[in-house]
Amino acid sequence: MATDLLPRLRRGLGEAWQIARGIVGERAYEIYLEHHRREHPGEEPMGEREFWRRHTDKGDTDPGARCC
């Protein structure tokens, strides 16, 4: 059990980190890459810099609702 605990803890922390990254939206490029590989195999995906630029600028035309 004790030998099992450390890798388990590490995996849990790793997962928590990925959830936190997901909540703040940092995984957007990874999601795009996964989608691109699946749907358009063989085509060159957008570069990271280019992607983030377009991703953020979408907010200029679609602000999204926010609450009180």
């Binding site: 388990r8 849990g12 936190a20 703040v24 999601i31 926010r66 609450c67 009180c68």
Partner: protein, 735 residues
């Protein structure tokens, strides 16, 4: 997460819970703790009650509501079907439609629905004692607020993420659609004005607060440039830098306030701040998103989650004692100085966010339904996120109720009622029956290093004072009070500036869209003149209410806040009417009471409040009675009335009460229109043979995706995840 074909056993999940001795024992224990906590809150007389009982009552009630009522709604009423592919799975375009891990989406949805609202309402409602607010926040969320969020999310998800406005138009008719649109625009304007007023009241004559809030602008600009040109996509890293800079700005504020020159530079009057906020609102809403709004959003999300967790932990450690009684006399006589009117209906209007917030239906029918992975997750994401927001409201209530009642009233009464000195304020508060001496008011101000705490209305400073007491009793002691106070003020003001920026943009887009029907180029969101014009119109609208509120001789918050509450509950009525219509049309009429009961309650509360605001003869409550009183005094040539000095101030009251009164009438008429129109559709649907009415629901498509339903996967779910051997299991997080 996993794209593997669904396990047939996984989809045939039995909705029947399996009761084991262990689970029976756990739920019995939860019920006992909840009942004990409620009993402590209800029966204690005179002795000191620990705030911990409010926390326990809330958590136990939430757990029972989530486990039993929300589960009933999920399986019996909505009949969520995990064999059905969600829009995220079907459309999956790598951008706005994308199956998202339930825990990520929960955080996302919570960050989108929770803002400054749940921190303000409960603080104001505390004038009636701690019990009315506690009961309404907890029961309201279980039976109304969380139900609305979950049901709207479900129906929007079944319609490819259609917005509330679209659903109202398609399911009720054009009248319902227009009412929804007007309600959204109106609520937006009032909301922005009220929130901006909260900031003005918190920062006026406070160099420390003003400095740290102003510093958020260069911090956000820096973060924007850093994310754009230096490290694109490194959101966590950039936000961490931002938070460190923010804490430095708060710490630096103390030094700035004490500095002879800088202290003066950052010393602003209420009207200077009002003007500054209006200019800021306009500039921020026309700047590109990447420069200011996006980084501000990241910063707000970070602070939001961090402070909520910090506050919860601190309350559990500090275990503060409630200072306010269960009920004050104001609950029954309607003469409360913070806002007028008796418990029914005004507690239910004042506390909207945290119990029932119509605004949430816009989020539940916007981004979230396009990202949800499995239908059964609507309970965790829709209902669960709202329970979390409700808990934030409970903590705000605790923060307000643990401070000295005399200090609470001195902070929340209008300036004209308190006079200019701590002596006059102490006398005014003591007259209400809450003894406080001038010395206490002075020393409290000194403790948080502010010039004065008198008439700091709007909720934020009161919340900040309570939070600072809780934080400093855990971290740092009295020496840290000033830091924590400004930390909490800043935390709230930061949200509000983000909302002001985002809200102005959302309002501008809606206006552009509406005006686009008349003049085509308006609809083009990159056409600069249209963009500037519409931004200016929206800013002018909330700016007017802000200015009028800040200069209202009777105190702006107590006049405007009920209007904000009514507007929010109006939107909730639209959302619940849409939900009921959909339940009936989709053959679930047997269970339509799930949304009809909260709708009926919401309608009764809102219409009673509107009726009193319009027709009450009591000038403290009725806008028109107040208007008449001042108009008559002016006609008789009087130059002062009550605490209002001078003809100009009296004329201002006449104008303000007219505007507020007309708005109350408008909101009430809108609610009645929506209800009548919805009932017409219900009757038509009930008379029509089953399934003959058109529906916009997307047809069933087989899901090929599997994921757990709740936050913590069950044993069966873990086994399925293991068999699939994909990333779907949450094994690590569950232990």
């Amino acid at each position: 997460m996993s794209a593997a074909p669904a396990d047939p056993q996984a989809t045939a999940r039995s909705p029947k819970p399996r009761w084991t001795p262990a689970s029976i024992a756990v739920w019995a224990a939860v019920a006992v703790v909840g009942a004990a906590a409620w009993t402590m809150l209800a029966i204690s007389r005179g002795e000191e009650v620990s705030a911990i009982w409010i926390i326990f009552a809330a958590l136990a009630s939430y757990a029972i509501g989530y486990r039993f009522y929300a589960r009933f709604i999920q399986y019996k009423v909505l009949m969520t079907d995990d064999t059905r592919a969600t829009p995220a799975e079907r459309i999956n375009n790598g951008a706005d439609f994308h199956p998202t891990d339930r825990r990520v989406l929960y955080g996302h949805h919570f960050a989108a629905i929770a803002g400054a609202g749940p921190l303000v309402g409960p603080v104001l409602a505390a004038q009636m004692g701690f019990l009315p607010g506690t009961i309404w926040i907890i029961l309201g969320v279980i039976f109304a607020g969380a139900v609305q969020d979950m049901v709207v999310l479900f129906f929007s998800m079944r319609r490819n993420g259609r917005s509330l406005g679209q659903m109202a138009r398609e399911e009720i008719g054009p009248v319902g659609g227009v009412a929804a649109l007007v309600a959204v625009l109106a609520i937006m304007v009032i909301l922005l004005a009220v929130l901006a007023m909260v900031v003005v009241n918190a920062l006026a004559d406070s160099p420390w607060g003003s400095f740290s809030l102003i510093m958020t602008i260069p911090i956000a600009l820096f973060m924007g440039v850093y994310l754009r040109y230096v490290r694109p996509g490194r959101v966590m890293e950039t936000s961490a830098i931002g938070v460190v800079l923010l804490l430095a700005a708060i710490a630096g504020g103390g030094w700035v306030a004490a500095h002879p020159v800088l202290g003066e530079v950052f010393h602003f009057s209420a009207n200077q701040l009002t003007f500054g906020l209006i200019v800021y609102g306009f500039v921020a809403s026309v700047l590109p998103v990447w420069l200011l709004l996006a980084p501000r959003d990241y910063l707000s999300t970070f602070m939001k989650v961090g402070v909520v967790v910090l506050l919860a932990v601190s309350i559990l450690i500090a275990m503060p004692t409630l200072q306010l009684p269960q009920f004050t006399d104001f609950a029954f006589n309607g003469q409360g100085p913070v806002f007028a009117g008796s418990l029914f209906p005004f507690v239910f209007i004042t506390i909207a966010c945290g119990a029932l917030s119509g605004f949430h239906s816009l989020i539940s029918s916007g981004t979230t339904p396009k990202l949800i992975e499995k239908e059964s997750q609507v309970r965790m994401i829709g209902y669960g996120s709202m329970l979390t927001e409700s808990f934030v409201a409970i903590m705000a209530l605790v923060a307000a109720c643990i401070i000295d009642p005399g200090v609470y009233f001195a902070m929340n009464m209008p300036a004209t009622a308190l006079g200019d000195t701590v002596q006059s304020a102490a006398a005014a508060v003591s007259q209400l029956g809450f003894t406080v001496d001038a010395q206490t008011l002075q020393s409290t101000a000194e403790l948080i290093e502010e010039e004065s705490i008198l008439a700091r209305t709007g909720g934020a400073p009161t919340f900040a004072l309570g939070a600072a007491q809780i934080f400093s009793s855990v971290f740092g002691g009295p020496a840290m009070m000033a830091f924590w106070y400004h930390f909490a003020v800043m935390f709230e003001a930061l949200f509000i500036l983000t909302t002001v920026d985002a809200g102005t943009r959302v309002g501008r887009f809606m206006l552009q869209d509406t005006l686009g029907n008349v003049y085509k180029p308006m609809r083009d969101v990159s056409w600069k003149p249209g963009l500037w014009l519409c931004s200016a119109l929206i800013v002018a609208a909330w700016g007017y209410f802000l200015w009028a509120g800040v200069n209202d001789p009777l105190g702006g918050i107590n006049q405007l806040f009920p209007l904000f509450g009514i507007a929010n509950q109006l939107l909730a009525a639209v959302a619940l009417a849409v939900c009921t219509t959909l339940l009936i049309k989709s053959g679930r009429a047997k269970y339509a009471w799930v949304t009809i009961v909260p709708l009926a309650w919401d309608a009764v509360v809102t219409l009673t409040a509107s009726y009193q605001k319009v027709f009450s003869d009591d000038p403290a409550i009725g806008f028109f009675a107040q208007r008449r009183m001042y108009a008559e005094a002016l006609a008789n040539g009087e130059t002062s009335l009550g605490a209002t000095e001078g003809v100009d101030a009296m004329r201002q009251v006449v104008v303000n009460t007219t505007v507020d009164g007309v708005l109350s009438v408008l909101f009430a008429v809108l609610i009645i229109i929506v209800l009548v129109d919805a009932v017409r559709v219900w009757i038509k649907a009930l008379r029509a043979p089953q399934g003959s009415l058109p529906t916009t629901e997307h047809p069933h498509e087989q899901s090929r995706l599997w994921a757990p339903s709740g936050l913590i996967p069950t044993r069966e779910e873990r086994e399925i995840a293991k068999r699939q051997n994909t990333g779907a299991g949450a094994d690590g997080a569950a232990h």
